[in-house]
Amino acid sequence: MTTDEGHEGAGDAGMSALTRTEVEEIAVLARLHLEPAELERMEHELTSILTYFTALAEVDTAGVPAMTHAVPMDLRLRADVALPSLPQDTALASAPRRDGALIVVPSSITPGRTEPGA
């Protein structure tokens, strides 16, 4: 994998005091523009919420499986049959900006794709 950002290390659930920088970083990751007043509020609110999670750190969960699905089941397989797609106009009807049959967005500063896949 190109990225080595993954589930590394066991972190500490008690890292509850968020710094202003961290809040700003998270806002960027989440693509949320926050006004200074919002950032300020967010710092306090998130910190106070996070203190609740220290209770979790104290619980011994060694060997306890993570519940990824409430009811255990296997993934169902769908037959490989192509069904009719949405008409082009319907697909594009809600797009805030389009050019013919293409959806238009402002360009990013970076040329080309910044992410893997193509």
Binding site: D74, L75, S107, E115
Partner: protein, 489 residues
């Protein structure tokens, strides 16, 4: 300032370390997580449905053909297949990623620790694969001035990502790996793998280190490589770039670089944010993907014999040269043709002759008429029959080529053609002796020049005369033998 050394010289001191991440588009009717069509080349945004558009409230459902295709590849690469694998959401924001995340696999991929045998030179080199996992493709974004234009037709098309261990040692090897993988996925009929259509894409992680060093150097990632040639060029270019930097005391920056084929160079992608934090999350909408004995049984039963196995077998069993074997396994239809022709041949030793005929006459005719092997007008059994007729002396090799051409053109059986045109080889020594006598008698001057005067070149003249008399049907070996006797030397 001394001349910069060329790559071969640099490679005496430096060792390139290359790992490839290859995306292969799987050939299915519908997308991996929704039932809209995967058709190529449709008008933009005409192959979408609510899930492809990432509309609120939509949920993924998994296409079983994707599993079957991926398992074939997993088995063909001797990978460990996970009985329960999971899908994970990989988050990032980009206009052609409708949900704001890509459904991929992270912790528990479908296949791990396989290998691909790459045909290099005369032999096979085993390249280890770290993993093969399933994921969905994104749409396409094109840049037009200050804006980007998005087409979501491709969003949701099924992909497998094949990740090699970082142990490919040269650009050439990387190119061969790509060719081998290309051939294998087409062989297994799981992908068309047309690089120009974006059905086979390669990202390369390249680093260099001094030979003998254990530690890996800092790597750069190359993207936008969309042909086999560019795989080699881009990687070679990168190796040289890195070595030059290191030799002049610089450091390699860990970055992603885009290959510019027109300019023959790469440039770093300037990204606004630093590292990619994909915040992987096991997808709560998709329970674990289970591979059971029944599914595996079907895959194992229906898997064709692999190119590398046949490559080996053709050399060992049929005595075919490595180059010829490589050509025979370049395409499954060709290898299947060969196997069928050999099976139709009465003896077990027909392989080499059949290979020769295939690689010269058959391929030549197919290329000239732009016909795929599978639709060859000359069937494998027919070719085998023709080879037998040459082997047993019914016709000469030269006449055989003629018969092949006519059979290819008309579809008539070789035996019928030979019969109709009276092309049977003349091998009767008595008859040939008579003809030779006539010919030599008719050309006394040449005979003397050859026998007494030592003009070796005239032997060919007499052979030619005999052939003329017999419309090319004289058995060349016997003719030559008898001529030598008649001419005295």
């Amino acid at each position: 300032m001394s001349e910069p050394r060329a790559l071969p010289a640099l490679l005496e001191e430096w060792e390139p370390v290359i790992g490839l991440e290859v995306h292969v588009q799987l050939a299915t009717q519908s997308k991996i997580f929704s039932p809209s069509s995967t058709e190529f080349g449709a008008p933009p945004n005409s192959l979408t449905d609510p899930l492809v558009l990432g509309l609120p409230g939509t949920l993924p459902s998994f296409n079983q053909a994707v599993l079957q295709h991926a398992l074939k590849l997993g088995v063909a690469t001797s990978s460990q297949i996970r009985a329960k694998s999971r899908f994970a959401r990989k988050h990032y924001f980009y206009p052609d990623l409708p949900k704001g995340y890509q459904i991929s696999q992270f912790d528990e991929p479908l296949c791990e620790n396989g290998h691909l045998d790459v045909i290099i030179g005369g032999g096979l080199k085993r390249v280890k694969l770290q993993r093969i996992h399933l994921e969905e493709d994104a749409g396409k974004t094109t840049h037009v001035g200050q804006t980007s234009h998005v087409d979501l037709n491709r969003a949701g098309v099924p992909l497998v990502e094949v990740v090699t261990a970082p142990e490919i040692g040269s650009a050439a090897e990387a190119g061969e790996f790509m060719r081998s993988l290309h051939r294998l996925v087409r062989w297994l009929e799981i992908s068309e793998a047309d690089m120009e259509k974006g059905q086979l894409r390669c990202d390369a992680n390249v680093s260099v280190r001094l030979r003998g060093e254990d530690r890996l150097g800092t790597r750069a990632e190359l993207k936008n490589i969309n042909s086999f040639r560019f795989v080699e060029h881009a990687i070679e270019h990168e190796i040289v770039r890195q070595i030059r930097i290191l030799e002049s005391g610089g450091r390699i920056i860990r970055e992603t670089r885009l290959w510019d084929a027109d300019r023959g160079q790469s440039a770093p992608m300037r990204s606004k944010e630093e590292a990619n934090d994909y915040r992987y999350l096991p997808d709560p909408d998709l329970p674990p993907l289970v591979v059971d004995g029944q599914i595996m049984g079907t895959i194992l039963r229906t898997l064709p014999e692999l190119p590398s196995v046949r490559f080996d077998r053709y050399q060992k069993l049929h005595g075919i040269s490595p180059d010829d074997a490589r050509t025979l396994v370049s395409e499954r239809a060709l290898a299947d043709y060969f196997d069928a022709a050999v099976a139709a041949h009465p003896s077990e030793r027909g392989g080499r002759m059949i290979a020769n005929w295939m690689l010269t006459e058959l391929l030549g005719a197919l290329h000239a008429s732009a016909t795929p092997v599978a639709r060859s007008p000359v069937a494998p059994a027919t070719l085998a029959a023709l080879v037998v007729l040459v082997e047993n002396g019914t016709i000469s090799g030269k006449i055989g080529k003629d018969v092949f051409e006519e059979s290819y053109r008309t579809g008539d059986a070789p035996a019928a053609i030979i019969e109709r045109r009276g092309l049977q080889q003349i091998s009767d020594t008595g008859a040939l002796w008579e003809i030779i006598n006539r010919v030599v008698g008719a050309n006394p001057k040449q005979a003397e020049a050859y026998t007494v005067g030592g003009k070796d070149g005239l032997f060919g003249f007499f052979v030619g005369q005999v052939m003329k008399e017999t419309q090319g049907r004289a058995n060349p070996v016997i003719t030559s033998d008898l001529l030598h006797k008649r001419l005295g030397r």
